[in-house]
């Protein structure tokens, strides 16, 4: 573990109020719930966006999905312990189409990442966007 692992954490939960709810209702009504190649997006709470800041433990460039393992120290956690989050991305070809490469993230990189969290409250989420901790965009080729 890096000594500077006691990172600043920005864990902000925001609910886009009426508009998001309407969008979700429309999506559900149309049976259009987050279709993906391997599984549906039913496990993710698309009405919520959570921003995490942490250190990359591992970047899995793999099928059917890429994954970011992120070590996060949550604000207000008196124990000071880090939690490991699993962030699911699309398939490698789609992530590559978006400008990312297998080497875009390395263990030890500090990043800020937005996700749709899991409904079950586990430390997992669906990738929305990410930047380096100083705000630089990631994955632009």
């Amino acid at each position: 573990m890096r000594p500077d692992a006691a990172i600043r954490v920005a864990l902000s939960r925001s609910r886009a109020p009426l508009l998001s709810a309407l969008v979700v209702m429309l999506v559900m009504f149309a049976s259009a719930d987050t279709a993906v190649a391997h599984h549906s997006g039913a496990m993710w709470d698309s009405a919520k966006t959570v921003t995490l800041e942490g250190i990359v433990k591992e970047f899995q460039w793999s099928n059917p999905h890429c994954w970011i393992q992120l070590l996060v120290k949550e604000a207000g956690d008196a124990t000071g312990e880090q939690q490991e989050w699993s962030i699911e991305m699309a398939a490698p070809i789609q992530v590559r189409q978006g400008g990312w490469k297998p080497g875009t993230l390395k263990a030890g990189d500090r990043i800020r990442i937005s996700i749709h969290p899991a409904h079950d409250g586990s430390h997992a989420g669906n990738f929305v966007s990410a930047v380096s901790s100083d705000g630089r965009p990631l994955g632009t080729t």
Partner: protein, 257 residues
């Protein structure tokens, strides 16, 4: 013996001449075929972004509900009820279902990038999800009825009208309960596509679905495609390598690592 050798030589010469003529004919046909090289993706495909859906925060890009095939089909009353039942079933399936790839016709509006290989004998649509459509253009017909059974991508034959590939597809299976929503159809469904290049970086598929059992009228839609410029080769997907989404108690979950 001399006669035999002479006869053999004549046979070989004849064969070479025919083969040569055939090759020349084939090359001439090849020269007339359009150039669709490159990588393409449906405009309405999701997953063209980094996450599992396309509603990136602050982004008004297309989402799955915008898919043309998600719009109401002109079903008759009986099949409208069936479609509503399928919708309910697909809702359950999405909680725990996993699958690998898209069936026809949904694959033509899927998030997978694809390449098109055009030869005189057939045109291949090869998708990143490893779906492959064979469109035979050598003049053959569909197999007889007793040799047909429903297939994920059906049976397709085609021909060229100038630069337009006209495809005739039958015998398509309809797994409408799946989350990769396909419209539902009866076994009588018949699909006609007219695919052509409409710009340097644009393809267009005019797809007409006919089903006298399920539809009150033919259902026609235009599916637009754009050239993918951020990758220079097709990278195929796979469902087994690092599947971290086990189904626990009937629901999709995430395994720790």
């Amino acid at each position: 013996m001399k006669r035999l050798v002479t006869a053999l030589c004549l046979c070989m010469a004849t064969f070479q001449a025919v083969a040569g003529t055939s090759t020349q004919d084939r090359q001439q046909v090849f020269r007339k075929l359009p150039d669709w090289t490159g990588i393409w993706i449906a405009d309405d495909g999701v997953m063209t972004r980094l996450g599992l859906r396309n509603d990136v925060e602050g982004d008004s890009g297309p989402t799955f509900k915008d898919r043309i095939m998600s719009r109401p089909a002109p079903y008759n009353a009986e099949w409208r009820a069936k479609a509503q039942d399928a919708l309910k079933n697909s809702s359950k399936y999405r909680q725990a279902g996993k699958e690998c790839g898209f069936y026809f016709p949904g694959v033509m509006e899927s998030p997978w990038a694809f390449e098109v290989l055009i030869t005189p004998e057939q045109t291949l649509f090869v998708f990143a999800g490893r779906e492959v459509r064979h469109i035979y253009t050598d003049g053959r017909s569909h197999p007889p009825n007793d040799e047909l059974w429903p297939l994920p991508w059906g049976d397709s034959i085609g021909h060229w009208e100038a630069d337009t590939l006209v495809i005739d597809t039958i015998s398509v299976v309809a797994h409408s309960e799946r989350f990769q929503m396909n419209p539902i159809f009866s076994p009588a469904a018949h699909f006609i596509e007219r695919i052509r290049k409409v710009g340097k970086d644009r393809l267009e598929d005019t797809l007409t679905m006919e089903d006298p059992v399920a539809l009150t009228q033919p259902w026609t839609m235009k599916l637009p495609y754009t050239r993918v410029t951020t990758i220079d080769r097709l990278i195929h997907g796979d469902c087994m390598d690092n599947d971290r989404n086990p189904v626990v108690d009937g629901k999709l979950t995430v395994s720790p690592r």
